[in-house]
Each structure stands twice: as structure tokens, then as C-alpha cells.
């Protein structure tokens, strides 16, 4: 049962895909050279000009872009089109230092929505479906991306956004939602609620498209069992547009990267050297069709493996494994990017020692974040109410910085292990 949104693209021959990539890459490099002085300077520093890039084989000659570049160039430094031609921004949840703001022309939005539409159709979506989008709407790309994809497929789209579980379940039962799009942890939470409330017979879900955070095969199995659906993974990042950079097909053995829009490479995160197919390394994307935010060789920091083994679904686009980790210290908690350095900044600002420990866990399929903080002399009082007041201020400051709630646990001074070597700042107990 082949489900394709754009069959001529999704099942194109390898030669055809490569031809598209060669042509689009050459054009994109010229576009960037002419319009993005920041990247042009990086190319000049490396002694590369657009004339050196004749095909995908030359891609390795181009300099990388990293999150630091995005920060340096914030907000307009990497734009490929004037603001007057842009129609939208989306942004990561990060804070001043790490925030990524991505720009889109109408053309960019169209292509992004096409990518999401491919994911929805691959999950069995048709115009007869009721697509229930419980990703957050707003600056976060999840809601707008899947919403647009759902429109393209012609599904009846329920722009639920996240939260208010009671209303989610009411719409789901009353309007007969058939496809659920949200983070896997929220899907697990909804599944649990449906199970507890005995609503299983009243829901018509057949598939789920879950992304924006890491999830395990056990979690997939659990959600599939509880909801009686097939659960599909989807991948993306704001820097490259949002969800839909890659998505799972019926085989559920990896996510097909939309290679007509993105060229994927796997590199050694230490040396930057490109690794052969099948190697584990850092995923790097080059956007070859984006106009407003055309990132070349963007280092995602996600560690994964690519494979071009033929897929039973008939799609010919390369597949990536689920990310197996990160090459930096970024944590993804409840779908939100969290850097330990952000927590450190808040602690110092609030007058606490920078000796801290972050404990991440997953309780009932939902991520939890706890920050262990050492008591400081000037934060101490003989009154518990005063200490609690200080603690509340810290919790609020962390929430403002991270965008998610972190439980604070105040411990004795100098009690957090200061090992001889590197401090253990993060304990991630999640089994993914």
C-alpha cells in the first residue's frame, strides 16, 4: 500500500535525486555568496568560491555553520532574502544567547509544508482524515509545520496546540480524530489518559506522527498498544525549517530525509571529516532550496547513521537513524533545547555557587528536570519562608531562561561531587 504525496519525487531514481542536488547546490552556493556576507566571508577565509562547487562531490570544501554562527549572526546575519520578501519567522525555545530565529519566504513555507505533507501521507494520511495537531503553535515549528502539511494533504485539520488534555480528548472523541501529531511524551500522556478514562472504544485514531524529542522503541510500542495505532517518527530543526526534514514510512526503520531539499552528511565531530555511509557521526545538513534562511553545511550536533539500503516502502531517499546522542552538551527536555551553561548563568545571576548538578529523568513517559544547587551563605536565613522565597525566585528565573519548569533542590555547601577531572554536571537517567 504505497502512500506518497509526491510520488515522482519520493521514489525518484538515485541518479535523478543526485541530479537535483547537484543543480540546486550550485545555485544555492551562488545565492548565498551573493546575498549572505557572513557566509561569503567564511568561504573566503577557506579560499573557496562558488566556482569550486560544481556538484555534491565538492560539498566538503564548504565551511561548516554551527549554532555559534547563528548566535553571532543573530538576528539578520544569515538571511538570503530581504525582509520585505519574508512572510514568517519561527524560533527555537532557547534564550538570548542560544535563540535561533529562522526566516521564511512564502516559497520556503510551501516547501516546508510539502515535506510535512509527505510525512502525513507516509503515515497513511489522506484528505478523508481528521488530523489532530497537538504540537505547540506559535514560534515553535511543530504546530505550524504539521498544520500546513495537513492542509496540503487536505485533511480536516484540528489546530489544537498543546495542553488542556480534557479538551484534546473531547475533540478527539467528538470529531473522530484519525491522525495525532504531537511530541511522543504528550502522546504517551494522552494514551494513558484515554486508557484510564476508558475512552479507547470512542477514539478513531489510526496513526500518530511524533517528534521534537527522543523516544525509544519501548515507548513506541507502548503508545501503539494503548492507542491501537501506528506511531511514526518525524525529525527536523528550526534551523532547516522545522519538522519534516525527515520522516518515517511504514517500515519504521529510520527516517527518509527529503533529499530534494536537504543534502545530509555524516562527519566526525572532532575532525570535521566526512564519513562513509553507515558510519556513526554528526549529522550535517545543507538546505538547497531554502531562500530566506539558506544554511550550508549546518552542524546539527545530532549523532546518527545514514543508510541508502532500499526500503520496502519504495522511497529512494536516504534514511537516518533516530539520533543516538549529541556531540555537544545540549539536552532535549520536553522537546526543549537546554544547555547546562544556561542553568549556570541563572545560578550565578541569582547569587548561587556555580557548582550544580542537573538530573534529567523520565517519569510516566514525561521528562523531568531537577537542578541540585548548593546553599550559599547569603541565601541562608533562620526563616524557612525566606529561603523558600529565594528558591521560588530561582525557579522562576530558570523557567524564564529555559522555557520549562525545573525543580530546584537545595543541598549542603560543597556536597555536589567535585571530581578530580571534569565535573559531572548532567545525570541523564532517561532510557532512550
Amino acid at each position: 500500500m504505497p502512500n506518497y504525496y509526491q510520488p515522482e519525487i519520493e521514489t525518484a531514481s538515485r541518479e535523478q535525486i543526485l541530479a537535483w542536488q547537484n543543480e540546486r547546490l550550485v545555485k544555492q552556493v551562488k545565492h548565498v555568496w551573493d546575498n549572505v556576507p557572513y557566509y561569503r566571508q567564511k568561504m573566503e577565509e577557506k579560499g573557496v568560491t562558488p566556482d569550486d562547487i560544481k556538484s555534491v562531490d565538492d560539498l566538503h570544501k564548504l565551511p561548516f555553520l554551527t549554532k555559534d554562527d547563528l548566535r553571532d549572526a543573530y538576528p539578520y546575519g544569515l538571511m538570503g532574502k530581504p525582509l520585505s520578501e519574508c512572510v514568517r519567522i519561527q524560533s527555537t525555545s532557547g534564550t538570548t544567547g542560544r535563540r535561533v530565529v529562522a526566516f521564511y519566504t512564502q516559497h520556503d513555507i510551501d516547501l516546508w509544508e510539502d515535506c510535512c505533507a509527505r510525512a502525513i501521507v507516509a503515515a497513511g494520511g489522506t484528505k478523508d482524515d481528521v488530523c489532530h495537531v497537538s504540537y505547540g503553535y506559535g514560534l515553535f515549528t511543530g504546530g505550524p509545520g504539521l498544520n500546513g502539511g495537513s492542509h496540503k494533504v487536505g485533511c480536516l485539520t484540528l489546530p489544537m496546540s498543546s495542553g488542556n488534555t480534557e479538551r484534546q480528548l473531547q475533540f478527539m472523541t467528538d470529531l473522530g480524530s484519525t491522525i495525532l501529531c504531537c511530541t511522543p511524551s504528550y502522546a504517551a500522556y494522552l494514551a494513558e489518559s484515554i486508557h484510564e478514562m476508558g475512552l479507547r472504544d470512542k477514539i478513531k485514531l489510526k496513526a500518530g506522527i511524533f517528534g521534537a524529542e527522543a523516544w525509544s522503541e519501548e515507548m513506541r510500542h507502548d503508545i501503539e498498544q494503548k492507542l491501537g495505532i501506528k506511531a511514526y517518527d518525524i525529525y527536523g530543526l528550526t534551523e532547516t525549517s522545522g519538522p519534516g526534514v525527515s520522516y518515517e514510512c511504514s517500515e519504521q526503520t529510520g527516517m527518509h530525509i527529503n533529499e530534494d531539499h536537504f543534502i545530509a552528511e555524516i562527519i566526525d565531530p572532532e575532525t570535521g571529516e566526512v564519513l562513509p555511509e553507515g558510519s556513526k557521526g554528526e549529522l550535517v545538513f545543507t538546505s538547497i532550496t531554502k531562500e530566506a534562511f539558506p544554511l550550508l553545511r549546518y552542524r546539527t550536533r545530532d549523532i546518527c547513521v545514514l543508510t541508502r539500503k532500499p526500503c520496502s516502502c519504495g522511497r529512494t531517499h536516504v534514511k537516518m537513524s533516530k539520533p543516538m546522542g549529541r556531540s555537544d552538551d545540549m539536552l532535549i527536555i520536553k522537546g526543549v533545547n537546554v544547555f547546562p551553561s544556561q542553568i549556570e548563568t541563572v545560578l550565578l545571576e541569582q547569587g548561587y555557587p556555580a557548582n550544580y548538578q542537573i538530573i534529567v529523568d523520565r517519569v510516566n513517559h514525561s521528562d523531568t528536570l531537577e537542578v541540585m544547587v548548593e546553599m550559599a551563605p547569603d541565601k541562608f536565613s533562620d526563616s524557612l519562608a525566606d529561603i523558600a522565597e529565594q528558591e521560588k525566585k530561582l525557579v522562576n528565573a530558570l523557567k524564564t531562561m529555559l522555557g520549562i519548569y525545573a525543580k530546584v533542590r537545595i543541598v549542603s555547601p560543597k556536597s555536589i561531587t567535585r571530581s578530580e577531572g571534569k565535573a559531572v554536571r548532567v545525570i541523564d537517567k532517561r532510557k532512550i
Binding site: 546553599m375 550559599a376 551563605p377 541562608f380 536565613s381 533562620d382 526563616s383 524557612l384 529561603i387 523558600a388 533542590r409 537545595i410 543541598v411 549542603s412 555547601p413 560543597k414 556536597s415
Partner: protein, 143 residues
């Protein structure tokens, strides 16, 4: 009139309190009053000891976080209604009390209550006007 209370940060972990009391014992410091206010994760240990300066040095040397808090000790008749009378006097005078706890018995068998106050002067004048006695350090045998 106030005496020194040592307030110590105490993480809610097995052995924390034992460590501190052992440390005081090893330095021949006698505790005259002890109180703990706690949350789930941590607490504040409030101590009155015979030699607060020495105790502070010992505890700081052991890496404790603490501060010295002025508190007021009131002698209360050791009989039914003894404390109630004192609190009635305070309530009628609109005197705020942050917290209070009892002290180990006074030499003459009278009970002592420790008060943490916002306004010690108002407290003392109100009580003495009603014939109640606020104890001095010397009377309590504290350095």
C-alpha cells in the same frame, strides 16, 4: 536582652544532624535549646548553646552555612496555662512572633521559651509591664 541563636542549614539527608551534634560534643559545647524547621529537601537547625562563639567557629570550620540570630528568652511559670498567659499578653498587644520553641529547663525549675521577633523592644516592654520576666544571658548561663 537578646541571646544568640545559631541557625544552621541542614540538608535532609541521613546523618546530617548526627554530624553536627557530634561535632559540638567533641568540642564540649552544651546545647541549651534545639529546634528544627524543615521542608522536604532541607531544614534550618536552630540552636542555643552555652558558648555560641566557640560553636560558630567550630561549625564554620566544618563548612556549615549558618548565621547568628538574636532571639529573646522568656521565663514562663511551669504550670498549666503558663504559656497561654504569655501569648495572650502578646496577642492583646499585637506583638508579632516569627517562631518560638522551648528551652531545656532553667536551673530553678522554671520553663523558658525562645522567641524570634521582629520588634524586641515592644515585646520586652509589653511583657515586663505585665510582670513577666525576660531572661538575660547571665541568668541562662550563656557566654
Amino acid at each position: 536582652m537578646s541571646v544568640h541563636q545559631i541557625s544552621v542549614f541542614l540538608e535532609n539527608r541521613a546523618g546530617q544532624l548526627a554530624q553536627i551534634t557530634r561535632l559540638l560534643a567533641d568540642n564540649a559545647i552544651n546545647m541549651r535549646a534545639i529546634n528544627i524547621a524543615e521542608t522536604k529537601d532541607y531544614g534550618v537547625l536552630r540552636l542555643i548553646v552555652d558558648d555560641s562563639e566557640k560553636a560558630t567557629g567550630v561549625l564554620l570550620g566544618a563548612g556549615c552555612i549558618l548565621n547568628m540570630t538574636p532571639v529573646t528568652v522568656v521565663v514562663v511559670p511551669d504550670e498549666a496555662g503558663g504559656l497561654a498567659n504569655v501569648l495572650d499578653v502578646l496577642a492583646e498587644g499585637n506583638i508579632d512572633v516569627d517562631y518560638m520553641y522551648s528551652m531545656f529547663p532553667h536551673a530553678d525549675g522554671k520553663a523558658c521559651m525562645v522567641f524570634r521577633l521582629k520588634d524586641e523592644n515592644a515585646f520586652v516592654s509589653r511583657l515586663t509591664a505585665h510582670g513577666l520576666h525576660v531572661a538575660t544571658k547571665a541568668e541562662l548561663g550563656l557566654k
